[in-house]
């Protein structure tokens, strides 16, 4: 694995890491419970990116939940829009809207469904995704807009590995490199699966890091479930004039033994029995975060 070279790896406050781990754990539970209750698929895809989302929303992103449209905010786009069940939970936990709003999840007339709605419909959402390959061009446009105005914000775009099948990802990658958009950061949730098979079998994705480097980006590989590594990487993005791609090696269904690396959980809905087994594995701690 081509891990990033950090000048200094700071010893992280164990309390911070512990807090993030607890949050990620609780998010996992809420995602699984909602999937069961509201019949929402893509559980495996949500669980593979939940640690990345936790690190971003509780440590990295410069955002203001009271002023969701603050012009200097960092932008985060969940380009793999089918991970929305995870995003909806993390936005609520972060305080963009009350967690009680999620009780309507999946009901007729609810805003919470399988993919993120348009930004005007829910605070904290930057782009309506779900059709794959759209988030990176949108994010590139946002990053260029920030550069024209001399603003300091960064744009983070989370892609799926299956999503890298889409040609627009590579169109955007080339333009971002040509334009030297160094405030743009892509994170690839590389769980090695897509809807129906191994991503490598379907579209010969490997060597993924070489592809991004060949397209003119900084690129590194990390363990996408190691919060310390995620944070350190995101806090130390290269200070050159290239955009950065972080290839986060993840496990589809991460955190629940019987879901891990089993692609049936791309669409399967957990039963009541699955739910209690998952709850036992997560060893949820009672009490405030």
């Amino acid at each position: 694995m081509n891990r990033p070279n950090y000048a200094v790896i700071e010893e992280r406050d164990p309390a911070q890491l512990n807090d993030l781990k607890k949050r990620a754990n609780l998010l996992r539970w809420r995602i699984i419970e909602t999937s069961h209750r509201a019949n929402i698929p893509h559980l495996g895809s949500c669980l593979s990116c939940v640690d990345i989302l936790t690190a971003l929303y509780f440590s990295i992103l410069k955002i203001d939940t009271e002023n969701a449209n603050w012009s200097e905010r960092d932008r985060f786009i969940l380009s793999k829009g089918h991970g929305a069940p995870a995003l909806f939970q993390v936005l609520a936990m972060r305080g963009f809207y009350p967690e009680s709003m999620l009780e309507t999840y999946g009901e007729d007339g609810s805003i919470f469904a399988e993919h993120p709605p348009a930004p005007r419909e829910l605070p904290g959402i930057e782009a309506a995704t779900g059709s794959l390959g759209h988030g990176l061009p949108l994010g590139l446009g946002m990053a260029l807009a920030g550069r024209i105005r001399n603003q300091d914000y960064r744009v983070y775009v989370l892609l799926g590995d299956g999503e890298c099948n889409e040609g627009t990802i590579w169109e955007a990658a080339m333009l971002a490199a040509a334009q030297k958009v160094n405030k743009l950061c892509v994170i690839i949730d590389f769980n090695k699966w897509q809807g129906t098979d191994r991503s490598q079998e379907i579209m010969a994705l490997d060597p993924l890091i070489d592809k991004w480097q060949a397209f003119g980006w900084n690129a590194c590989e990390i363990d996408g479930h190691n919060l310390q590594e995620i944070l350190t990487t995101l806090e130390n993005l290269p200070a050159n004039n290239k955009p950065t791609a972080i290839i986060a090696h993840t496990i589809k269904g991460s955190g629940i033994s019987f879901m891990e690396d089993d692609n049936n959980w791309h669409y399967r809905i957990p039963s009541a029995d699955d739910l209690s087994k998952a709850k036992a594995e997560l060893k949820l701690e009672v009490g405030p975060l």
């Binding site: 930004p119 061009p137 949108l138 590139l140 446009g141 333009l175």
Partner: protein, 305 residues
């Protein structure tokens, strides 16, 4: 029309810091003046129109007013999903300009023809669809589009289109411009085919038929007020467009007629449901599809005989 576009968008960029121009690797020299106004607001996005559309939407969501420019099929059919999702669903105020619309590039073959663009873009919620009749209407359309807070699509010709207005007209989105008044037949013309419509009006005058001509520079929203006002005054409503008969001005008017149960006879003149396989000039292509003054005249006369 291309030059008028370049001049007008440059002027608008000078006046409005929000204007950004994105081009799909065409017309680079055309935009040298624009680049002199502000090089940071011109982007040659390469031959990657789907990405360009997404980038424009991202800029629009960040407060800019991007104008996208490339050859019509590539800025419409090529990236329809990006227009649908990134632009329209996000209500991103992007101005999409398709150059060489209709049969302007007849000699380049069907890959460069555009006889479906108005049809498909008209289906998208919130999208305004415009087909200015000449360079003057184009300049006014751009200014009007910039005042909208929703997406606008403008299809234009290439170069050398004659001016149709004796005086500077007023252009309001969704309101036709009456080019000449008449009593028997009204012809609505969309886009640069207007001179042929004017020629037909002259020929019909000789035959004793008085023709009103209006530039339907906006296909969506349709000027229903005008349409309602003409039903009692004319014996025949004609629509002319350098576009397929499925989905463009003709269809929009037919939909209006059905909604209103209007009894005015409607004659549709446009291109049939086929690709143009052979190569030829725009004039050749227009003749082939009956989009010239003489052919329009014959169709109208046939109605009266």
């Amino acid at each position: 029309m291309r030059n008028a576009f370049a001049n007008e968008v440059t002027e608008l960029a000078r006046q409005d810091q929000r204007v950004v121009l994105l081009s799909g690797d065409i017309g680079n020299k055309l935009f040298d003046d624009f680049k002199r106004v502000d090089p940071n607001r011109f982007y040659n996005c390469g031959i990657a129109e789907a990405n360009m559309m997404g980038v424009a939407a991202g800029m629009a969501l960040s407060g800019f007013r991007p104008v996208i420019y490339t050859i019509t099929p590539f800025t419409t059919t090529r990236c329809f999903e990006q227009i649908r999702v990134d632009v329209c669903y996000h209500e991103a105020p992007v101005i999409i300009v398709g150059t060489g619309a209709g049969l302007s590039y007849a000699e380049l073959g069907p890959t460069h023809h555009s006889l479906e663009d108005m049809a498909i873009l008209r289906t998208l919620p919130g999208m305004c669809v415009m087909a200015p009749g000449d360079a003057v209407e184009l300049r006014l359309a751009l200014r009007a589009a910039l005042k909208q807070d929703h997406p606008v699509y403008i299809r234009i010709g290439k170069k050398g289109e004659p001016n149709i207005h004796a005086q500077l007209p007023e252009l309001e989105i969704g309101k036709v411009i009456r080019v000449q008044e008449g009593n028997d037949v009204v012809i609505l013309s969309a886009g640069t085919v207007m001179p042929e419509v004017q020629k037909a009006a002259e020929l019909l005058k000789v035959k004793g038929i008085s023709v009103e001509v209006a530039s339907a520079h906006t296909i969506k929203p349709l000027d229903e007020t005008y349409l309602c006002s003409i039903t009692q005054r004319f014996k025949l409503l004609v629509t002319v467009e350098e576009h397929g008969l499925i989905g463009g001005l003709s269809s929009a008017v037919a939909e209006w007629r059905a909604r209103e149960n209007s009894q005015i006879p409607h004659l549709s003149i446009g291109t049939p449901d086929e690709f143009m396989h052979e190569i030829g000039s725009q004039e050749y292509a227009r003749k082939k599809f009956g989009l010239v003054g003489e052919a329009i005249t014959e169709r109208v006369l046939a109605f009266f005989n």
